[in-house]
Amino acid sequence: MSIALSAVDISRALTRISHEILERNSGSDSIVILGIPTRGAHLARRVGEIMTGIENKEIPVGTLDITLHRDDLRMQPPRALTPTVIPPCGLDGRDVILIDDVLFSGRTIRAALDAIGEIGRPGSVQLAVLIDRGHRQLPIRADYVGKNLPTSQDQTIKVHVIEADGIDEVLLEREER
């Protein structure tokens, strides 16, 4: 087990991503940030706070539960749902920034795109992730990446955030054989 990102690294990565998002979208006027629970929602809140600090105005932040759109529902026990919170401005015509902790197969993001389609019709959807670990199974890529972390299939990545786990860190674990 090794530490891939420390608390300072995470904070730097989120700050850089926040600036990149603002640069790419020429400001924050049309931006809505949506985090995918649970870790993604915490990261989204932080990115929102950083951007609010830069822009000096409130950036709408919400959460998007994708459970009901997963393609693997039938393969495991039913999952409890987490709240979806859409900011009052809605998604129609906005530039939606999806935020998740780890980008792996891409299936979560596919489900998220379906979930967004049911709520509204954004002007664009962009994806920001803390870790991109490769091994995509669908044609999906991230627009903003905290760190590219090449992994093998038998490794696991654990993202811990203060809000849920009491500590900020990203761990790279090799599974016991």
Partner: protein
């Protein structure tokens, strides 16, 4: 949990999980696209061998919002009216590949009978069996109570609820007494002695014969329909006398606590157990109960059918 036959089968955490899931489902029902792909390819049969408006439509709407295929089946217009037995009907449904059967039947225990039989592999959901139980109605009532009186989360601790009327024939009352007391509410049954079942003293509820004494101290009044179709005997002298002692009218409504609510599982006998002005008053949440019914049934169908078919329901709590 493979079947939902009785509120007795639910643990505290399972009940809360259903209510929390229903809360998210309510959001779907209020969004512009009221459709989720979650149960695509699953077949649900509405086997309604006794008349129903609300429950059947509600289950149908819930299943369709989750993209399941729904087959409606009622006694009238089917081979049941030619005398086909429940066994043959069930085997027919099995042969057609039903993943779940939602059954309403006039015989108490029929849902249990169907679930225990080896006639079919699917899940069985009890939508009312005789005078026994109606678990999804109790869940939607708990959801409605929680939304209005307990800020929409957690359980019903500290709430006091009166269930008034024909307790003897009421499956709604049985399911509600079990579920509401499980969730921490205090239930008082109010009825004439002739309309209380034998053994009611062993239920987790208090019993009163005096509606006027109960009305001012409860947070919610749940009026029950007088089930004339099940009354072969005389249970009270006249309808007018029943209304006078056990009906909800304007005078009693004025005695109710501030912010308390009026509920009724429907269909109502307006003028018998509840007057029209009470049913249509601002305190009444009777129409909203129907809306909540769809959300609660979506939650039940999701939790029972969305996962791997052999996976136990309780497993979901581990992942939660």
């Amino acid at each position: 949990m493979r079947h939902l036959l009785s509120t007795k089968d639910l643990s505290y955490s399972e009940a809360i999980l259903i209510l929390d899931t229903a809360q998210e489902m309510a959001r779907v029902s209020s969004s512009s696209v009221k459709k989720l792909p979650t149960l695509r390819g699953r077949t649900i049969v509405n086997l309604f061998l006794e008349d129903s408006t609300r429950t059947r439509i509600s289950f149908e709407a819930a299943a369709k919002r989750l993209s399941a295929d729904v087959i409606n089946f009622s006694a009238k217009g089917s081979s049941v009216s030619k005398g086909e037995s429940l066994k043959d009907t069930a085997q027919t449904l099995q042969a057609m590949g039903a993943d779940a059967v939602i059954i309403r039947h006039s015989a108490s225990g029929s849902a249990q009978w169907l679930a225990d039989s080896q006639w079919m592999n699917g899940s069985v959901i009890n939508a009312g069996d005789g005078t026994h139980e109606h678990p999804t109605q109790a869940l939607l009532d708990a959801f409605t109570l929680r939304k209005h009186l307990a800020s929409g989360t957690g359980d019903l601790k500290g709430l006091s609820i009166a269930i008034v009327g024909d307790i003897l024939h009421s499956r709604v009352a049985r399911s509600n007494v079990i579920l509401l007391s499980l969730l921490g509410a205090q239930v008082t049954l109010v009825a004439p002695p002739t309309l209380l079942p034998v053994g009611v003293e062993s239920w987790p509820a208090q019993v009163s014969y005096d509606l006027d004494a109960v009305i001012p101290v409860v947070d919610a009044v749940m009026m029950l329909r007088v089930q004339q179709e099940r009354m072969a005997d005389y249970f009270f002298p006249t309808a007018r006398e029943y209304s006078h002692y056990f009906g909800l009218n304007r005078d009693r409504l004025n005695q109710m606590k501030k912010d308390s609510i009026i509920m009724h599982p429907g269909p109502m006998n307006r003028g018998l157990e509840i007057t029209a002005d009470c049913a249509d008053s601002a305190r009444s949440v009777i129409v909203e109960q129907v809306t909540n019914g769809v959300s609660v049934r979506m939650a039940v169908l999701y939790l029972m059918l969305a996962g791997a078919s052999e996976s136990p329901f309780a497993q979901s709590l581990v992942n939660a």
